[in-house]
Amino acid sequence: MDLASFTQLLLSGLLLGGIYAMVAVGLALCFGVLGLLNLAHGAFLVLAGFTYQAIHGLGLLGPLSGFLLIPLVFSGLGWLAYRLLLQNPLKRASEDFLAPALLITLGLAFILEEGTSLVWGRSVAGTISPFSSLQWGEFYIPGNRLLVLILMLAISGVLQFWLTHTDSGRRLRALAQDPIGATLVGVSLVRVTAVAFAVSTGLAAVAGLFYVTLFTVSPHLGLPLTLKALFIIVVSGSGSLTRPLVGGLALGTVETLLAPPLGAHWANTLTIVLLLAFLCYRPEGLFVMRPSVGHK
């Protein structure tokens, strides 16, 4: 491989990582911070993609208003889904959100997938990006991918600031660290987790809007995307909302750079091997410092 090809691959890999990170960041908010694994995350993303294509196709909204309005609507949907489906079971579970959330959101994922398939009745949604590619010498930088990366940097920063510098963010982290203790000091489990779920669903919608312009979405793509996001969270480590960005960039670059020498099939297989290796030997993630164990 010559230097020019390597550079183009590296650029493409990094830019691909941006969209991977965008898919993962919403899930990281729920799972990484709160311990609530939302398996319907990808299904919300797909639904947002189909909604955008439909609205865009009918000429009801321009790209900018669509990109602002749809995530807001999906945040509302997320809030509603939480209040209707998750609130009571999670209250009963009190400490361990994982198992009930897993079952409920898996059911929700199937309902959303079949609903999307039924309403749209077509196998694929996708739109052409409104941004043209930037040419830099012999290299091409797709405008929409660059925008995703820049936006992802901004989203990560804003979310991290929210978690660490605002009252509602602190309440969320308190709940994540010790649900019973946090509830005893007055943190509302229902309100805080509902807000987190709504923000997470809104982020899934943002990812869906970009995903549909970069690639295509089909009704049954939701669960594979959720698994990819989960992989990024496992590799990069939970607890921080800037880590999915690093994990996403790493995954995108590794996938793209490994494809030419190994073949695309092996690049995917290697990804799964890496996931298993991380789960076995470094479950806390790549970018989390291990607690030092001193000898007494």
């Binding site: 090809s5 493409s12 009745g121 996708g126």
Partner: protein, 401 residues
């Protein structure tokens, strides 16, 4: 009993039996022609074939409005009675329902489910119980290499799926090389294997043939390879989501061959790409303007079933299956399965997509025509007797559009 009395008794019995014969025949006349099928109303194929339940119904309703189909043996027209189930896009479910269609519902004729894997499973039921089975959208050779006697398929085998395109390329003698990008699933790989041979036979140099996973998101590595090798034709053998993602990235990275060929380029391909889909070649079973059989009847059935041809470009194959079923029953004049199957195997008729007959293994002759998207419309560009427009070659570079 004396001899004359015995003779009288035998002769008398003979005449009595003759008198009773029509009554017996009458008792054997079925009340309807029962046609069975499964449609993937749910599951992964639902978006590709779900509405075809309406198409089947529209066909049956239309035939029944005319009083049904005339069968000579019963000297009357019999109505069509459809029995359909949702196979949930699952091979095991399809197999179970075809077993039920034969053993419980007592169908006389079966239409196959969507896709080769489902047809592979479902056709074992018809073979076991010896009921004629018309496969429609299932052209993997694996389905027909099992020596089954009770199956015919409307369309030609997957390796020949684009043979008319290569005929055109050879006849035009403009393109010299080709690069293949292939989705690693049964049908696209089958088409690729056949197309690669056909391309070589047409005198083209195959510069690359890369098989990629179906869920490939980033095509940068193969696009860079193609830019370096610079083939005249970039041939994408895949399902639509794969092809759309590839074309988007080809545009983003300025890959400009002289021709893009995406084997499936229906409305679901064209709409997301918009003007970027222009000049792309693909394959069509039928487009308005073709004159075979009765296009008005087909368009009327599509209208009744509320199906858009651009979104469901394989719907003409269903129409051809209806035409084959009607012709076979008309010529056989009976619902006797052996006679019906034998008639079907010997059938030679002109359907909506052209002449059809079946090889010994059941594979049919209907094949696709190369069609090009020109200003958002599909135009058949080869052969001349069927073409609705001229082939535009080379494709303008992205910067010049």
């Amino acid at each position: 009993m004396r001899m004359p009395m015995l003779i009288i008794w035998i002769v008398g019995s003979f005449f009595v039996s003759l008198i009773k014969l029509p009554a017996n025949v009458h008792a054997d006349v079925p009340d309807a022609i029962r046609v069975g099928a499964t449609v993937s109303v749910s599951g992964k194929f639902a978006t590709e074939v779900g509405p075809f339940q309406r198409l089947l119904k529209a066909w049956a309703d239309e035939v029944n409005r005319r009083g049904g189909l005339y069968l000579k043996k019963y000297n009357r027209k019999l109505p069509l009675q459809l029995v359909t189930y949702d196979d949930r896009s699952d091979a095991a479910t399809a197999r179970r329902y075809y077993e039920r269609l034969v053993t419980v519902d007592g169908v006389h004729l079966l239409f196959g489910p969507y896709s080769s894997p489902l047809t592979f499973a479902a056709s074992t039921a018809s073979e076991q119980h010896q009921v004629p089975f018309i496969a429609i959208c299932a052209n993997s050779p694996k389905v027909y290499d099992r020596g089954f006697k009770w199956i015919v398929c409307i369309i030609d085998a997957a390796p020949r799926y684009t043979y008319r395109y290569w005929e055109m390329v050879q006849a035009e003698a403009k393109a010299r090389s080709v690069g293949f990008v292939v989705e690693d699933t049964l049908h696209p790989v089958g088409v690729y294997k056949g197309s690669r041979k056909l391309a070589e036979q047409a005198g083209l140099k195959v510069l690359v043939g890369e098989v990629l996973p179906a869920d490939t998101g980033d095509f940068t590595p193969i696009i860079l390879k193609l830019k370096k090798l610079n083939p005249d034709i970039v041939y994408v053998s895949s399902n639509i989501p794969f092809a759309v993602a590839f074309m988007k990235q080809a545009k983003e990275l300025n890959l400009s061959p002289r021709e893009f060929h995406c084997i499936h380029h229906s409305g679901v391909f064209r709409q997301p790409l918009g003007p970027a889909a222009d000049y792309v070649l693909g394959q069509s079973y039928w487009e308005p303007g073709m004159k075979y059989s009765d296009p008005d009847r087909f368009l009327s059935l599509l209208k009744e079933a509320k199906i858009d041809l651009d979104d469901y470009p394989w719907s003409p194959a269903y129409m051809m299956a209806f035409e084959v079923a009607e012709a076979a029953m008309n010529q056989a004049g009976t619902l006797d399965p052996a006679v019906l199957m034998k008639t079907m195997k010997g059938l030679r008729i002109t359907t909506l997509g052209g002449p059809v007959w079946f090889a010994d293994n059941g594979v049919g002759t209907i094949n696709t025509y190369p069609s090009q998207i020109q200003h958002g419309k599909y135009q058949i560009v080869w052969p001349a007797e069927v073409a609705t427009a001229k082939h535009i070659y080379p494709t303008p570079a992205w910067a010049d559009r």
